[in-house]
Symmetry: C2
Subunit: 286 residues, 2 copies
């Protein structure tokens, strides 16, 4: 997906959020904001929004010397989701269609995205989970995904955010942990999942975890490691979670299933759904 004009005010807001989260010197904040404005003024709008996100968060980390400003937030979000996990797992396994419920809950978990919103409250996560169980979800896409997942011998599951990764476990269990590889970002960026989150969430005990080799808040293939690109190319099925992965892989050569909550108007328009929708997209609609 290209970068739309509406992404530009949002880049600035996102940079401000990150700078405030780190507190500190107003002069440093001003310096970073000016650098972000300059970079945005010169950016290639043909590239995806996470390409700019990568630039912004590098500028912030360099200027502030903090390699992971969202570390505490990520730890809190993982703990919060782990508290919800046992109850949610019961809902999945007791349902007549556990895969469909796991898809809904994993999509609901995508509400935990600090790139879109500055903060997220426990009640908002609980609300998104409750809503997801009855929200519209493309039944055709669920069936296409079910068939593709049954047939696939190896599945690459590209994660998105801390906290959300705990809910991804519900879906990984339904897919069969033995055939899933879970991909995280190569370095901290916003509250995106890293190896540390795969460990804190329990995901690392279930499946093989690989990292993208990139610090972009998405999957910019040309910026990923050779090792990651090989795994991506070799996967029988790729499931990519969240907005950043959609933005960076929606034009990929390989068919990808996307599972996300459409939280911003730009993404919703690109997908063609109302803001707030649960989205499962992928597979050919013959």
């Amino acid at each position: 997906m290209r970068t739309y004009f509406d992404c530009i005010p949002c880049f600035l807001r996102q940079a401000l959020d990150a700078l405030r989260r780190m507190g500190g010197d107003e002069a440093v904040q001003e310096k970073v904001l000016r650098a972000v404005l300059k970079a945005a003024g010169e950016m290639d709008l043909g590239r995806s929004p996470p390409a700019m996100g990568q630039v912004i968060h590098r500028l912030i980390r360099e200027a502030t010397g903090d390699a992971d400003p969202y570390r505490e937030a990520k730890e809190r979000l993982n703990r919060l989701a782990l508290d919800l996990y046992p109850g949610l797992r019961r809902r999945v396994v007791e349902d007549s269609d556990p895969l469909a419920v796991a898809l809904r809950l994993a999509a609901a978990g995508n509400v935990i995205d600090l790139g879109v919103k500055s903060g997220i409250a426990e009640a908002e996560i609980a609300g998104a989970i409750g809503d997801s169980l009855s929200a519209p979800l493309d039944g055709g896409a669920v069936e296409r995904f079910r068939r593709a997942a049954d047939l696939a011998e190896n599945i690459l599951y590209i994660g998105d955010n801390a906290g959300e990764i705990v809910l991804d476990r519900l879906l990984v269990e339904q897919l069969g942990a033995g055939k899933v590889t879970f991909a995280v970002r190569g370095a901290p960026v916003i509250n995106d999942v890293t190896v540390a989150d795969a460990e804190a969430s329990g995901m690392a005990e279930m499946v093989e975890v690989i990292d993208s080799g990139s610090d972009a808040p998405g999957t910019i293939l040309e910026d990923c490691s050779d090792a990651f690109r090989e795994r991506f190319a070799g996967a029988a099925l790729v499931l990519a979670k969240g907005q950043g992965n959609y933005e960076t892989l929606s034009d990929a050569d390989k068919p990808v299933f996307f599972l996300l909550k459409a939280k911003c108007p730009v993404i919703a328009r690109d997908i063609g759904c109302p803001v707030g929708s649960l989205v499962l997209q992928g597979g050919s609609e013959e």
Copy 2:
């Protein structure tokens, strides 16, 4: 008032709104957005937000060749407010405290600000008017204003927006049209009042109308004409409407009364009130 970091994403949103309002070529829009990003990256944050607004809207007018992109919107807003005027005037004159009601309605009219929001619906204006009659308004400030207005032999009333100017007539009537001079912007910018709006609203038939000599969406004194600055210096009482005038005159050497609806979080924080408040500020609180 200085420019806060939070104003920066808002500048970009405002530029996008104006560009979209004019429709037209995406390449021109992109060119202007890049120029706005560059200007914002180099701006002096010690200056007020309307100083940047002035730069942005000049860039837009130059790139698009449209000297007044908001002309139709302003005409519509004036007509809409003129339809409401007779009923509102009755409310004022039938009240036991007509000045207080006129202050409330003139402040409610300040909701008609296309710098803060891209569009405004008739229902929103009616809602703001309805709410204003019972909303909290600083009673001490009303009494200070009443005394100052009674004593003043000449009053400079600095207008803000088209549409809103019709509701300003209610307050001008209470102040005594004979001693009021009404100031408009020197050239079109957003939906700010110009001489054309003073004529369309009926204000020009009631009082002397002068213009600031500046195309800033506020009153940047050093950018105003000598004639305007003389009138400003010579006024026994200055009443400035709206956010743009507050932002540019809140640090002026001369005491000014401000009347506005605090529509954005930055202004609300600067004033120290909740977003959405009716604000009358000025006069010394002995």
